[in-house]
Symmetry: C2
Subunit: 136 residues, 2 copies
């Protein structure tokens, strides 16, 4: 069981921006320091900007920064928004063809397990996720 | 976030065997009824046999059946054994290259979230997972 790379990279980009809150960071820099491909970082930054987590500044000395204080960025909410879905097994998705579905009592367990999983992350903000304010 | 198809199919094969506890079921039948490829079912049955959940009987009228009562098959334990890993993000795995690791406080949250997730399934046995004893 894994979270997507998109979620992993989203958390990293936000942590990186939080660690450099005093200035704009660039896509090139974020990609290089974190050894993530530029195209992945670009995609993540675009999505996080659309979701209101980052704001960008165009131009030669442009870049991006957090759009709100790290204390206001909840990790549970972030994961809910960056994961494409939480269809743990086929029957939780739209194309369920499992013939056992009418006789299976596990879907409510799946829902409960997923809720318990996300509730833990609901306790954390981006501010809790970074120790100190270090420059890499 | 998803469980692997291997776990999904493992649960289905065990539920199917539990629903037909009075007789041996075959790989061909399980594949056909559940519209899972024969090779997937074969792999799952082999693993579940090795793990002590199923036992097989060779020969023309052979097949497989549960190796223990459904009340003794815990779903949490099953998922722990059928998922290849629980490395939610890169830094929980063996090839971690994330430079933020020394400054990131999220790994303990990941561990807690995963434990909370699995604990829910620990409350369920295979017997709890099947409603009634129906023949498909």
């Amino acid at each position: 069981m894994r979270l997507t790379k998109f979620t992993d990279y989203s958390v990293r980009v936000l942590i990186y921006a939080a660690m450099h809150a005093e200035r704009l960071v660039t896509i090139d820099e974020t990609a290089e320091v974190n050894t993530i491909s530029r195209s992945h970082v670009k995609k993540v930054v675009l999505t996080l900007t659309q979701l209101g987590y980052l704001r960008g500044q165009r131009g030669r000395s442009g870049g991006f920064t957090l759009a709100k204080p790290p204390e206001e960025i909840n990790i549970g909410e972030l994961i809910r928004r960056t994961e494409p879905d939480f269809k743990l097994v086929e029957c939780l998705g739209p194309n369920n063809a499992c013939v056992l579905t009418p006789h299976c009592r596990l879907p409510p367990a799946m829902d409960r397990a997923l809720a318990a999983f996300l509730q833990v992350f609901d306790e954390y903000t981006l501010a809790d996720s970074v120790s100190g304010k270090l420059t890499l």
